[in-house]
């Protein structure tokens, strides 16, 4: 009938698209879009690592001129700091786990043929891509990229004359982030609607894999947080370009009164950190979901305390909006407010601890297989513990007096957010590579990559805690001006050498990734003998994921080693097992 036919043309058609542009460039298929996000993040992480390498070199050899780049001036160092942080947080940690793997596997894991709004999904990727281009452009305009740190505190970021790079470069930085916000919000919209409305029959919320729960809660965090960042960015652009005084009080810059009056630098901090703290949970939750998934698969044992894990994810998400002030203990904020934020911050340590106990509980009594995804999952738990333990130091204002804005802080957040999240991305790559590309990655190269990465990152970031205790401040481009810092240069040298070696180790991953795409051993549909729905599909999955029919789900996602079952795993769409426990 006429209406149905025209409806078929307009809605997401289930016939696969033809032509290179529709298939690979402006694809509406969530799997292609996921890969696009992944490769964007891959490009971004190498840019980010390169910037950090330059930082490490300059810190211990400030007078050295580099080939092509020449001298690194103090302002250039700060530009490196700013862009490294910004690119890593936004275009790697917020992009690969959620936009990359979330896009690819969320619909499949819940038994859906695609995301709810495929056109919006395609737009969200290209918006994010545009944001990246604008960010990189900041390097190449007059004055270069900004030097105000990824946190962009006003008035340093709010007045164009505050330093080199604070002109057009800083405007582009803000615009890029604003574009990113919009792309991320579009993505969050899709994730939430899809999870709520497109689960297959039998896929109740409490049968969803923890990866899906993590992507879902992460999307909710993004939905609530990115709007606030966008608002801060708009106000900052206005202060910079229209002469408003949201964040800038009466100040002089370079000997001139700037004309602002009455604004509040703390207002920027509140708006930024209201976003900024949920952002770190956005960075880590998908990796936590991944870790839960992998520990279960490779221990051949259900996840310990599935319900508690779900509640912990929700608690972390919820409490994540109530702790932002712990970034502001020294800011001039009221000490009473600081006390309140401090209690909430200690509170959020509790669900994180529960998850850690449950991961250990999953391993305990299992039958562990040390495939590459599992190595990184185990590494994740270790890194999460290490990074997490330094949190309670910073969460107590009276200790934060000494540690705030010292190297203790980047030591903490690199371990728990940077490296742990990256391990989640690596684990997911090794795990889902067979499903995405039909081939296995090389396990020997994977082992070397793992060893370089685990030992290397500990060698880089554990010493930063010692540096912080000894009083090494953050964002110092060199250590030559303060007497007691001279004693710490040796430790900084160790960190730089460790960084060289660790980054070299990442090349092993790069080689493995691309070589295996073409030459890896062919993979079966379910090489890891896992239970979730993506392993019931063909490899790679067809355009509509399930080849025309929708699975019906009868079991939870972690039914391994079920007593009495014919084999040691029961797929989610297998006949229902006897309810155990």
């Amino acid at each position: 009938m006429a209406t149905h036919e025209s409806a078929a043309q307009e809605s997401h058609a289930h016939a696969a698209p033809q032509g290179f542009i529709r298939k690979w460039v402006f694809s509406l298929d969530h799997k292609v879009i996921g890969l696009q996000y992944y490769f964007l993040a891959l490009a971004a992480v190498f840019v980010g690592m390169f910037l950090s390498l330059l930082m490490r070199i300059h810190l211990i050899w400030p007078a050295v001129a580099l080939p092509i780049l020449g001298d690194i001036k103090p302002e250039t160092y700060l530009t490196l700091v700013t862009m490294h942080g910004t690119i890593m947080v936004f275009f790697v940690l917020t992009t690969a786990p959620q936009g990359g793997f979330g896009n690819y596997f969320l619909p499949i894991q819940i038994g859906a043929p695609d995301m709810a709004f495929p056109v919006l999904n395609m737009l969200s990727f290209w918006t994010t891509f545009l944001g990246f281009i604008v960010m990189i452009a900041a390097f190449f305009v007059a004055g270069g990229a900004p030097l105000h740190g990824w946190t962009g505190y006003a008035p340093l970021s709010a007045v164009q004359s505050s330093g080199p790079g604070e002109g057009l470069g800083a405007d582009l930085w803000i615009i890029s982030i604003a574009i990113f916000c919009i792309g991320a919000l579009m993505g969050a919209l899709n994730f939430i609607t899809t999870t709520l409305d497109m689960r297959a029959k039998g896929m109740t919320m409490m049968r969803m894999p923890l990866t899906v729960w993590a992507w879902f809660v992460t999307a909710i965090l993004g939905l609530l947080a990115f709007g606030v960042l966008l608002s801060g960015g708009i106000l900052l652009l206005m202060d910079r370009n229209l002469g408003t005084s949201f964040f800038v009080p009466l100040i002089t810059m370079n000997g001139q009164v700037t004309g602002h009056r009455g604004g509040s630098p703390l207002l920027w901090q509140h708006l930024f950190w209201f976003f900024g703290h949920p952002e770190v949970y956005i960075a880590i939750l998908p990796a936590m979901g991944m870790c839960s998934q992998l520990l279960s698969v490779f221990s051949r044992k259900p996840i310990f305390g599935y319900k508690a894990m779900v509640y912990a994810i929700m608690a972390i998400g919820f409490l994540g909006f109530m702790v932002w002030g712990h970034h502001m203990f020294m800011s001039g904020m009221s000490p009473y407010t600081a006390f309140a934020f401090s209690i909430m911050t200690m509170g959020i340590g509790v669900p994180s601890a529960i998850k850690t106990f449950n991961w250990l509980g999953t391993l305990w009594g299992g039958r562990i297989r040390f495939s590459s995804p599992m190595l990184f999952a185990i590494g994740f738990v270790s890194l999460f513990v290490s990074g997490g333990i330094s949190g309670p130091f910073l969460a107590q204002p009276v200790l934060d007096i000494q540690l705030h804005d010292t190297y203790f802080v980047p030591g903490h957040f690199h371990l728990i957010m940077g490296v742990a999240s990256i391990f989640g991305i690596f684990a997911a790559t090794y795990y889902w590579f067979p499903k995405m590309f039909g081939r296995m990655m090389n396990e020997k190269l994977a082992l070397w990559h793992f060893l370089f990465s685990l030992i290397g990152t500990y060698a880089i970031f554990m010493p930063m805690h010692y540096l912080g205790m000894a009083g090494m401040p953050r964002r110092y481009s060199q250590m030559t001006e303060v007497n007691y810092l001279h004693d710490l240069i040796g430790l900084q040298k160790f960190i730089t050498y460790a960084a060289f070696i660790t980054i070299a180790g990442q090349l092993i991953f790069l080689v493995n990734l691309f070589w295996s795409m073409f030459k890896g051993k062919k993979a079966s549909d379910n090489p890891w003998e896992a239970t979730t729905l993506e392993w019931t599909t063909a490899t790679p999955p067809p355009h509509d994921n399930f080849g025309g029919h929708t699975p019906v789900v009868n079991n939870g996602p972690y039914e391994y080693s079920v007593p009495g079952a014919p084999r040691d795993y029961v797929m989610q769409n297998d006949p229902e097992i006897e309810p155990a426990h």
Binding site: R199, S231, F246, G262, S264, D525, W528, T550
Partner: protein
């Protein structure tokens, strides 16, 4: 070191999703699909409305954020180096009366928007019936609620622009006082969002010329209508904030 490599091959019936010891995959999962494999109208509408609800959340957060900045800024004293004391510097802005008229225009447009929404929903509900032989939707004259809504929306935006000119005429530009900054900020951000709504309506209007089905257009108009009502409510909130929280 024990490392797991699967012994299962691609043909292993335990691995593949169909056949072997597993029951066949049952078609027709949670999606109420018709034979063409697409979700039906009710599902699409529900999904679109859910999407709108989710999408309104960051819009709300944006304005919550602006509101908190507004409230904080009003009450915040600043250090005056000449007196070594903290002083308050908030000067309220006299809002042009035109804003009240614009409010009326917007509320009226919301009314017409609702009429347009019900009109197209009614037509979409009748659509299957009108395609059977013998039945006809008739050549009834359709009151153009949708174009009227668009016109009123554009009129509102023009009115806001005029109000800005009036403010500037009274000496209140964007950076004149913190209060004037917020007036431009809040009204400007709202206007941009409303423009998005106008564009969506234009797309819905043009869509009929592009051969999109009545059902699809009905969903677009339905979702835009709710968005439109939200924008009207938001405007009233902004006006109250500017007038009473001063």
């Amino acid at each position: 070191m024990a490392s797991f490599t699967t012994t299962a091959t691609a043909d292993d019936p335990r691995i593949s999703g169909g056949g072997g010891i597993l029951p066949p995959v049952v078609g027709g999962g949670g999606d109420d699909r018709r034979g063409s494999g697409l979700p039906d109208y009710a599902t699409r509408l529900r999904r679109a409305r859910l999407g709108l609800l989710v999408a309104l959340t960051p819009v709300i957060m944006l304005f919550v954020s602006f509101t908190s900045a507004y409230v904080v800024r009003q009450g915040l004293p600043t250090f005056d180096p000449r007196t070594n004391a903290m002083v308050h510097d908030w000067i309220p802005v006299a809002l042009p009366r035109l804003l009240l008229i614009n409010t009326g225009v917007l509320v009226l447009s919301s009314l017409f928007m609702e009429l347009a929404r019900r009109q197209i929903k009614g037509r979409a509900a009748l659509a299957p019936a009108t395609t059977t032989q013998g039945a006809s939707s008739g050549d009834q004259v359709l009151i153009p609620w949708l174009p009227i809504t668009i016109a009123l929306g554009l009129l509102f935006l023009f009115g806001q622009w005029t109000a800005w000119k009036q403010l500037a005429g009274n000496g209140f530009y964007v950076a004149t006082t913190p209060s004037s900054s917020f007036v431009y900020l809040l009204t400007g951000t709202h206007a941009i969002h409303l423009m998005g709504g106008v564009l969506a309506l234009l797309v819905a209007g043009v869509a009929s010329l592009m051969g999109r089905s009545l059902m699809t257009r009905s969903i677009v108009v339905d979702v835009t209508a709710w968005y439109w009502h939200f924008m009207a409510g938001l405007w009233i909130y902004i006006l109250c904030l500017l007038k009473f929280a001063s």
